[in-house]
């Protein structure tokens, strides 16, 4: 299916409903991505206003989640959507839950970033946190991009990146533990670092979830709880 496929119902109001729904999800994704970018930026460039802005956007995100939820319920009740329309509604309902959680995690990152800013910072200004943050922001960005164009190839690419995120996570984890063993005075900071890493890793997982829903939406294939190699085989039966 393609995005133009949305707009050929006999009922033009149905078309408009679905189109509006999709636009709202993209809007919500955009908000969440901006929130996240600000939060991650706050780690290396401390700015007291970041946390306020992120919290304000969080309110908007929550509101969007509610209204999209309501629209989906209404369409389910009145239109009885089937096939690709049904998959679209199901996908959207699940996607906004993950988006909202990304927003929550972003808020946590912003709050910890503000706390880290008040303490002495290491010489590399948390370079590895920033790297992981950029990686994850990229995943969220490409996820929404894939959603906008119903692009399963891009979604697959995002899925592949989740493994890198997990590796980075474990790397930083070990490193942090080493620091804590070497110098107990660093424990407070190390724990904060760990919270941020944990949140970023969770965000990666949420982005991955959304990509899986998207593959379900476009191809009708449920690829959750499947190894990436198997998903690739499923999507590219000839190449594999």
């Amino acid at each position: 299916m393609s995005t133009e496929g949305l707009s050929h119902h006999i009922s033009s109001r149905y078309n408009e409903d679905l189109e509006r729904l999709r636009t709202s999800v993209l809007e919500m994704g955009g908000l969440v991505e901006r929130q996240l970018t600000q939060a991650v930026g706050g780690i290396s460039e401390p700015d007291a206003r970041v946390i306020v802005r992120v919290a304000q956007e969080e309110l908007q995100v929550n509101q969007l989640e509610r209204s999209i939820d309501e629209d989906c319920s209404r369409i389910l009740a009145t239109r009885g959507p089937t096939a690709s329309d049904l998959r679209l509604i199901i996908t959207i309902l699940k996607t906004i839950t993950d988006l909202e959680r990304i927003g929550d995690e972003g808020e946590k990152v912003a709050a910890i970033a503000a706390r880290l800013a008040m303490r002495e910072r290491p010489g590399n200004r948390y370079r590895e946190l920033r790297n992981l943050g950029d990686l994850v922001i990229g995943m969220v960005h490409d996820t929404m991009d894939a959603f906008a164009r119903f692009d399963t190839e891009l979604a697959l690419q995002v899925l592949r990146r989740d493994r890198t995120v997990d590796e980075e996570y474990e790397g930083i984890h070990r490193q942090t533990i080493t620091f804590m063993m070497e110098d107990p005075r660093s424990i407070r900071r190390a724990l904060d670092v760990m919270w941020v890493v944990r949140s970023l890793e969770r965000i990666g997982d949420h982005a991955k979830n959304i990509c899986e829903y998207l593959i379900y939406l476009v191809l009708g294939k449920d690829v959750r709880h499947t190894k990436i190699e198997e998903i690739e085989k499923e999507l590219h039966p000839i190449k594999a």
């Binding site: 119902h9 149905y14 096939a83 329309d85 010489g123 980075e168 070990r174 080493t178």
Partner: protein, 305 residues
């Protein structure tokens, strides 16, 4: 803080087993997924689900002509025993024509003829063969129509009619069978005290259930429903749908319906027809969530026109 990222042995492990706990830190790496007992059980459950019911009727390259006009074009599908198969498609696509082939309702239409076969299993009887008596076919394959059409007789006689036609004489047997059929059609409790009143005195939904009881009485192997609820209100419709679901225990059901949600609710298999051809035939859950043909998708999502 020097970045001293060590290569981590936990990730990228392709052995399928959860990586062992790291001795230094006591931490189990995040990617600790494995194919354990649970996965084995899930695979097992999937396999057993895939076992299908035996075939009750096999339709092979069935053509049907009204004179020169070819109304059905090379239909082939398998009707599974004690399952509900729904036929959907826009008006004029041939679903009712197809349904009527099963009990030879076209025989009286001048100039009509069948090609191909509808084989009733297990005895391999071709229902549309010239030398098969349509009366015998109709004994084994009952039909319920769009508009309730009880005979202008008592409720009891409506149901007993088919039994007497079959040569049943014992009044006691007939009474037993009538009660069984009325119970089967979920009508018994409503009419048991007035079996002598006219069938036409019932409400529309009750009349339709009376017709189902009448069709059930001779113990058919297949029941054909031609839009059985299009003349009924939502409550009577829900009752009939309940009934169709219950009938699955004893009889194979074929149903033509214009109500897509009804097909989705009551059937196990769905056939989508268009202009006399079978476009797609698959499990209902597949058709309504992820059809493989674009024409099916367009029809069930309301994009035709």
């Amino acid at each position: 803080m020097e970045p001293r990222v060590r290569k981590n042995p936990g990730s990228g492990d392709q052995s399928g087993f959860p990586p062992a706990t790291d001795i230094d830190t006591g931490i189990i790496p995040i990617r600790a997924s494995g194919r354990g007992m649970l996965q084995v059980a899930v695979d097992e459950a999937r396999r057993s689900q895939a076992v299908k019911a035996p075939v009750k009727a096999r339709v092979e390259v069935l053509d049907f002509y009204y004179g020169e006009f070819k109304a059905l074009k090379g239909l082939s599908l398998e009707v599974r025993e004690k399952q509900v198969t729904a036929l959907i498609g826009p008006s004029g696509c041939g679903k009712t024509t197809f349904l009527r082939c099963f009990n030879r309702m076209h025989d009286l239409v001048p100039g009509s003829h069948y090609d191909g076969s509808i084989t009733l299993l297990p005895e391999n009887l071709n229902l549309v063969a010239q030398d098969i008596d349509p009366i015998e076919v109709r004994m084994r394959i009952g039909m319920v129509f769009q508009k309730p059409n009880p005979f202008p007789k008592s409720i009891f006689e409506n149901v007993a009619y088919g039994l007497r036609l079959r040569g049943m004489r014992s009044q006691i047997r007939i009474q037993e069978e009538v009660e069984k059929a009325l119970r089967g059609a979920a009508l018994w409790d409503e009419v048991k005290d007035r079996l002598g009143s006219s069938g036409l005195s019932l409400s529309g939904g009750q009349q339709q259930r009376l017709c189902i009881a009448r069709a059930l009485a001779p113990n058919p192997e297949i029941l054909l429903f031609d839009e059985p609820t299009s003349a009924l209100d939502p409550i009577a419709t829900a009752r009939i749908e309940e009934l169709i679901a219950a009938l699955r225990e004893q009889v194979t059901v074929l149903i033509v319906t214009h109500n897509m949600q009804q097909a989705a609710r009551v059937s196990d298999y769905t056939a989508f027809m268009y202009l006399g051809e079978l476009i797609e035939f698959d499990e209902t859950s597949k058709i309504f969530t992820n059809p493989s043909q674009k024409a099916t998708e367009d029809y069930i999502t309301g994009r035709y026109g």
